[in-house]
């Protein structure tokens, strides 16, 4: 599912370390978590289900679930750490999770991890291959803090408070069928305004903002990444797996 990579993940993680990690691909989890499946009473979880497009790849055990969860990012590190393979492997080691590099390779093979290098042609391929889906509701801003908008659920403090640009991405980007279409759309909308910042009307620059916002939002489960798909039409006979497989 990850576009444009020839070396294995483990090799790239080693490369990240030697290069300082500034240009290493960012790692994102793919899919809407659907939880464990226990086939009968008292049975252990057979696997953990993630919906990705019209498919449901399975995380085979807790070790894979933990690394996939870690790929979302740690909220207290989203502003300070580029969330690369190297960062994930280091965080996994801190938590005594074994074989993070090997599991990341497996997750890439399952289509549950995607990697993207901002500012490169591969970023465009990534943006055309994936989309975001929004979770939670908007809480909005307050007179005391009109700059930041809350996202979360009613009746509890916001799960996350974000700048207007990030809130805009949470609110609107899921309406387009791909991240790239969202970037083009957001750039077009920005161009309709009176005082236009040149970066706001350039889809490639918008993509950089979207990728940055995605880490903030994905690490709190306020959005998830999905593959770019089209809905089934009236005449389509596409099949999906049963929910409880």
């Amino acid at each position: 599912m990850s576009a444009g990579s020839d070396s294995t993940g483990s090799e790239r993680a080693e490369s990240d370390r030697s290069a300082g990690g500034d240009t290493a691909p960012l790692v994102f989890p793919v899919g809407h978590y659907m939880g464990p499946f226990h086939p009968k009473v008292d049975a252990p979880a057979k696997h953990y289900i993630v919906r990705v497009g019209w498919d449901t790849p399975k995380l085979p055990d807790e070790a894979h679930l933990n690394i996939w969860a870690l790929a979302h990012g740690l909220p207290d590190r989203t502003d300070t750490t580029r969330w690369t393979r190297h960062a994930i492997i280091e965080a996994a080691a801190e938590a005594d999770m074994a074989d993070a590099a090997g599991i990341l390779d497996t997750l890439v093979g399952l289509g549950l991890i995607a990697e993207v290098t901002p500012g490169t042609p591969q970023a465009r391929e990534f943006a055309e291959a994936y989309r975001v889906q929004a979770l939670m509701i908007g809480i909005g801003n307050t007179p005391d803090d009109p700059i930041l908008d809350g996202i979360g659920f009613a009746g509890i403090p916001p799960v996350v408070k974000v700048r207007p640009r990030v809130f805009e991405i949470w609110q609107w980007a899921h309406l387009w069928p791909s991240l790239w279409a969202a970037c083009e759309g957001l750039a077009w909308v920005a161009g309709e305004a009176e005082d236009v910042d040149p970066e706001d009307v350039d889809p490639d620059a918008v993509l950089d903002s979207v990728l940055e916002a995605m880490r903030t939002l994905i690490s709190r489960n306020a959005v998830y990444l999905d593959v770019a798909t089209t809905p089934r039409s009236e005449s389509s006979n596409s099949e999906k797996p049963a929910a409880t497989d």
Binding site: H38, V41, I49, R51, L135, M136, G140, N221
Partner: protein
């Protein structure tokens, strides 16, 4: 009128407010909609994704609340937002009584909304509230015009009760549902509208040999979903958007 945000989105907010405590999951049951009193069977269903309050200036009380439907953002007054929020239902209500216009007006009266009927009508006119009666042709029309979208993570089932599935946040199940409801929770938003989703889910049930007649018939499935929909709407586990148009 002194209304808290939790009242605006229904009483489920009170349960969410206890998130730090051991939260007992809410139970979603399929209701036999045929058993409803036909005179009172009409449901009032809120449409749209809550985007939240918008205050333009620091320290100003001037504000509105935004609800997105498709590509349109509606600006609601406090009174409209209370009625729209109450239309999501209350999880501790009597499960055998449909959450319709009168139930919402009664609840609005209790929290002190003035001219609630007028406000409710304004929301119906703006298509932010829709009335639909299960087991009628209107139900299929409603399903063709709208899309069911999940807002929480799926939390799967448990070894203790593998027939029950839940949704919520990690470590915090908020709402429980049957396997059939969970199937729609997982997949319905992938289709352009809810009726297509029910047809697709029924076709899948037949293909994999699920014997439950409710799961193999899209109309029965839709009516069952409508009968229990407010239990999913009230904690914001799902919202209804306008259908996708290709």
């Amino acid at each position: 009128m002194n209304i808290t945000r939790s009242q605006m989105i229904g009483t489920s907010a009170d349960r969410l407010a206890k998130a730090g405590e051991a939260l007992e999951p809410l139970e979603v049951r399929w209701i036999d909609s045929a058993a409803m009193d036909s005179d009172d069977a009409s449901l009032l269903i809120p449409i749209g994704h809550c985007i939240g309050a918008y205050y333009d200036l620091p320290a100003s009380t001037e504000h509105f609340i935004q609800v997105r439907v498709g590509a349109d953002v509606n600006r609601l007054s406090d009174e409209q937002f209370v009625i729209w929020g109450l239309a999501h239902g209350a999880p501790d209500r009597d499960a055998d009584k449909p959450w319709g216009r009168q139930a919402v007006l009664n609840a609005a009266r209790r929290v002190g909304v003035s001219k609630s009927e007028e406000v409710l009508e304004s929301l119906v006119a703006d298509h932010l509230l829709v009335e639909v009666t299960p087991e009628t042709d209107d139900a299929i029309d409603f399903a063709r015009q709208h899309r069911l979208v999940p807002l929480m993570l799926g939390l799967g089932n448990t070894a203790e009760e593998p027939w029950i599935y839940s949704a919520g946040m990690i470590g915090l199940p908020i709402v429980q549902m049957s396997a059939m409801a969970y199937d729609l929770y997982e997949w319905a938003h992938m289709d352009a509208n809810l009726w297509l989703a029910c047809e697709g889910a029924a076709a899948t049930a037949v293909r994999v040999g699920i014997e439950d007649p409710l799961a193999a018939d899209p109309l029965l499935m839709l009516n069952a979903l409508l009968g229990t929909l407010h239990f999913l709407l009230s904690p914001n586990a799902v919202y209804l958007d306008s259908r996708l148009v290709s």
